[in-house]
């Protein structure tokens, strides 16, 4: 076994274990912490693939900013203990099982019948995954999708601000 393979198996088992831990933990704070571990493991995967920029962004954005907000909300609401009774969407569980099985079937199909098309990258091009190469691809080839995404995010942000303002006005009455 090559060192890369050992690292991969080790990381993959951590990723799967933390994913399962996140799903099955009865305490929302533990779930969030498992998810953070999962995000950091994925970032290390990106590093192994030579994508330093996306790895660090993954840690800064997902493991950092977003999960801090998750934890913040969980703690602020005191919602860490999951009640068994509060199942308000009874149709959700069967639907989730069907969709999940569909996803697993699709993945297995691709893995066993189309795996030949996946080619391992042997020689990375010069500057692969560096901030400047990511930037030039993002701002030249994919400028339109990038701008559309930014506008979408901006609208979501303004929406969130307006929603909280509305609440304040009602409370004042």
């Amino acid at each position: 076994m090559t060192p890369e393979l050992i690292t991969f198996i080790l990381l993959a088992s951590i990723a799967v274990a933390s994913g399962l831990g996140m799903l099955f933990s009865r305490n929302a704070v533990y779930s969030a912490i498992y998810l953070i571990i999962n995000f950091i493991t994925v970032a290390v995967f990106y590093l192994l693939l030579g994508g330093a920029f996306i790895a660090v962004s993954q840690v800064a954005v997902y493991a950092g900013a977003i999960m801090v907000l998750f934890l913040f909300v969980i703690m602020l609401l005191g919602a860490e203990k999951l009640g068994r009774s509060g199942d308000t969407l009874p149709w959700q569980r069967p639907l989730a099982i069907i969709l999940g099985l569909g996803l697993v079937a699709e993945t297995l199909y691709i893995l066993f019948f189309q795996a030949g098309e996946l080619v391992a990258l042997k020689d990375l091009p010069e500057g692969f995954g560096s901030p400047s190469s990511v930037g030039s691809v993002l701002f030249q080839e994919y400028l339109l999708p990038f701008e559309v995404t930014s506008i979408l995010l901006l609208v979501a942000m303004i929406g969130a601000i307006i929603l909280t303002r509305q609440e304040k006005k009602n409370a004042g009455r």
Binding site: F53, V56, A60, A63, V68, L71, F72, M75
Partner: protein, 333 residues
């Protein structure tokens, strides 16, 4: 990978960690002495000449303190939280360069651990995960003051991280690189604190807020929250929180020196490479004195003012600075 390289990295990491830990010990003494001078007192001067053994005495005292774990605390997280707090404070040093290249025993050795092309981004990533230790400590203590302290610090750190990240962009644009070594080399003659004075000031303010230093020490406001997130901690666990805060202070000073004050270089003078760490250390000590001075001088912000200041003043100014720098760079070429 050659074994000599691994040994070199291990030695350099060990030096950095030792620097962090002794730096923490003597920064506490430095702070107490400097605060005492500002308040026309003498400060700790009993243990050894000038009190230089005081940190040792403090350490021994903390080791023999009784360690309490609150009855209904989440034990696992309660024990892990101090460790999670210290880790980011130590790993952030990996990308900070403390000198150029020296030759020791016929071997060229770079005086930095890693020169990566995402160095500045790495700093923001580590700053982003630095909040977890404090939040988890606040939550696991099962104490309302601790929880409030943890919540405050998460809100504060998320808010000021944005301004902190935007203040990095000025030096990145001027140097044309995210590698900290490149940024230091680009300041050969002009320190970025000159052309990027706005970014420098924003960095200093946001940096103080990011490490919960006075006047932004909201998470541990004694009058309102007893001691905030570490109210339930004692002994060595408390010492670890203390250590994290002081190592972060040194790290923020080192980052400020690297990004804005020429790092291990002096303007116009080519120093021998082995003097690089000394130059950086002098800059760090001067910046640390600034932080202590601020603590001795300014009262604490009110919490809502702190949020309003971060979002409504600091963030727009930082954005405007990024825009302005970009426009001027394009116009000049």
């Amino acid at each position: 990978m050659e074994p000599a390289l691994i040994i070199e990295w291990v030695i350099k990491s060990a030096i950095l960690l030792l620097f962090g830990v002794t730096g923490f010990a003597y920064l506490t003494l430095y702070e107490r002495r400097a605060l005492a001078r500002i308040q026309v007192r003498i400060g700790p001067n009993r243990a050894g000449p000038f009190g230089i053994l005081q940190p040792v005495a403090d350490g021994i005292k903390l080791i023999f303190n009784e360690e309490l774990i609150p009855a209904r605390a989440d034990k696992l997280m309660f024990v892990l939280a101090p460790i999670i707090t210290v880790l980011p404070a130590l790993i952030i040093w990996a990308v900070i360069p403390w000198g150029g290249q020296v030759v020791i025993a016929g071997r060229e050795i770079n005086l930095y651990l890693a020169d990566v092309n995402v160095g500045v981004l790495y700093l923001t990533a580590v700053a982003a995960i630095a909040v977890y230790g404090i939040v988890i400590a606040g939550w696991s203590s099962n104490n309302k003051y601790a929880l409030l302290g943890g919540l405050r610090s998460s809100a504060q750190m998320v808010s000021y991280e944005l301004a902190l990240g935007l203040s990095f962009i000025g030096p990145i644009m001027l140097a044309g690189s995210m590698s900290l070594v490149d940024i230091v080399e680009a300041q050969k003659n002009v320190w970025f604190a000159g052309p990027q004075i706005i970014a420098f000031i924003i960095f200093l303010i946001a940096g103080l807020a990011e490490i919960n230093r006075s006047p932004f020490d909201m998470p541990e406001a004694e009058q309102e929250l007893t001691a905030g997130y570490h109210a339930e901690y004692s002994g060595m666990k408390f010492a670890l929180f203390f250590m994290a805060e002081y190592i972060k202070m040194i790290a923020i000073a080192a980052i400020a020196a690297t990004l804005f004050l020429g790092g291990y270089r002096l303007p116009f003078i080519e120093l021998p490479a082995f003097l690089g760490p000394v130059v950086l250390l002098v800059k760090i000590i001067i910046l640390l004195f600034g932080m202590i001075w601020v603590r001795a001088t300014f009262p604490r912000f009110r919490y809502d003012r702190l949020m309003a200041f971060g979002w409504k003043i600091l963030l727009p100014v930082a954005l405007a600075n990024v825009f302005l720098t970009a426009v001027i760079l394009v116009l000049i070429g």
